[in-house]
Symmetry: C2
Subunit: 282 residues, 2 copies
């Protein structure tokens, strides 16, 4: 069962018009909110970012936080999985024809949401870490907008897939921006480093939360540019997102990173992340 | 009536799944083919570009030229308008879930097509010309792929709309790339100039055709970078596309270009364009 424009219905009954501007132009935005044991994690932060994304493409909020909470509750109640995520997408809606400018039309936005079961790190992956590759960042200038224009991200993610990696880390003129669907952290000399916020990267909710957790643990955090060589020579690499939490990367482009197993700073922040989740749930 | 996945059906009955990768990611490409009195113009060129776009996103052709010709014929036969266009879009199809990488899945592409009535230049517009604005080009690096990731194009076109202009001309680091849905030509000292082909612009079928027409009329044609000041100080500006043919721009950012009316080189190439169309139809 999914949510579409005010109704809960089976996916097979859900109809998007071919004239939906989401389908014709990618004219819409999305969010992905982790839900643990039925409780949405960092919901307000996600909804605030949704508002910012909508504003950036000249759209307004369509539902209140209470309405979203109710939708999330209904969708997640179907499945007892301890870790789920809510994917939600809002497009500008279907116009009477296909024209780039929406002009002065008062279109009704399309609102879609569905629950997805999360597959978090396995015990084996916690021991070995995962692989990533690097690839050029070909995306547009406004990746801080969480838009559904994701073709470059897809092509990068597919490259990772074909090379048995879990993520493609994007390099813009030799500097790390982020992953195809994650933010990137490195550890060097016990300092935690991530690229500074800019219009060119998504302002990850999990990224922000991790910076806060690390500070609580007195880990030095720097938001500064990470060069390709910084990345290759780092002691630890993590990729982070709301759907995958904190993934330790132990191989980059088939080469071992650090000691080749998830590092101590990852372990420390990961423990604190899980502890904070437990506290949130209790 | 529209075409969707092998069937002709009323738009209201056409259903796209919310899991269609076109809707979730903009994972697809499109073409727009002008059809005059039922005959598709430069069809082979458009289908060749479609193949190139599909290849660039790791997809294959889904229909033969003959199949496309039949679809175009059926869709256009509904409406006696002398000038129509066929919009066609192919997406990677709907997967079982939402994951960036499509992996090794053998998805069935979604194929959508519809006829659109063209509104070509009115007699008045031929006398006065139209207005355009300039705005920064924020798009990704591979605009030669005619993909449906069009959010930056939409935001630029909407800016043009709000300023009573028919097009937004995009500037990348001070140089003209193209319009939000057109290529751009200028005339300076009787020479016709357009930006060279690169990965950053669409390789317009109409752009190519116009270069050929101008050469037939012994007009000097240059494919070279056009700076913002070249644009502002040009004698003529045109925007060109398959759906709008050749539009003379006589105001840029509210300032008059050239003599303020469509120029003599535009008139010459426009006449030859219409003559070539007539010849094609006869």
């Amino acid at each position: 069962m999914i949510y579409l424009n005010g109704q809960f219905l089976p996916l097979a009954d859900a109809r998007i018009s071919p004239l939906d501007r989401g389908f014709l132009f990618g004219d819409g935005v999305y969010e992905f909110i982790p839900v643990y044991h039925g409780k949405a994690f960092l919901l307000i932060e996600h909804l605030q970012r949704l508002t910012r994304s909508l504003e950036a493409i000249n759209m307004k909020d369509v539902l209140t936080a209470k309405q979203w909470a109710d939708i999330i509750h209904t969708l997640c109640a179907q499945d007892p999985a301890p870790a789920q995520g809510i994917y939600l997408q809002i497009t500008r809606g279907a116009g009477p024809n296909r024209q780039h400018a929406y002009g002065a039309q008062d279109l009704t936005p399309t609102v879609f949401a569905m629950a997805i079961t999360l597959h978090l790190l396995s015990d084996m992956e916690r021991k070995t870490g995962l692989s990533a590759i690097t690839t050029p960042d070909t995306r547009w200038e406004n990746c801080y907008i969480k838009s559904i224009n994701l073709l470059p991200n897809i092509l990068a993610a597919q490259q990772a897939y074909t090379r048995d990696a879990c993520e493609a880390i994007l390099l813009d003129n030799g500097y790390v921006t982020e992953g195809s669907s994650s933010n990137v952290f490195i550890v060097k000399n016990n300092m935690l480093i991530t690229a500074p916020k800019s219009q060119g990267i998504l302002w990850g909710i999990t990224r922000e939360f991790i910076l806060q957790l690390a500070q609580e643990k007195n880990i030095t955090c720097l938001e500064k540019p990470i060069s390709e060589s910084d990345l290759q020579n780092s002691d630890e690499i993590w990729i982070t997102s709301s759907g995958r939490e904190i993934i330790p990367i132990t191989k980059l482009n088939e080469k071992i990173i650090g000691t080749g197993i998830p590092g101590p700073i990852w372990q420390q922040v990961e423990n604190h992340y899980q502890y904070s989740k437990e506290k949130f749930l209790s």
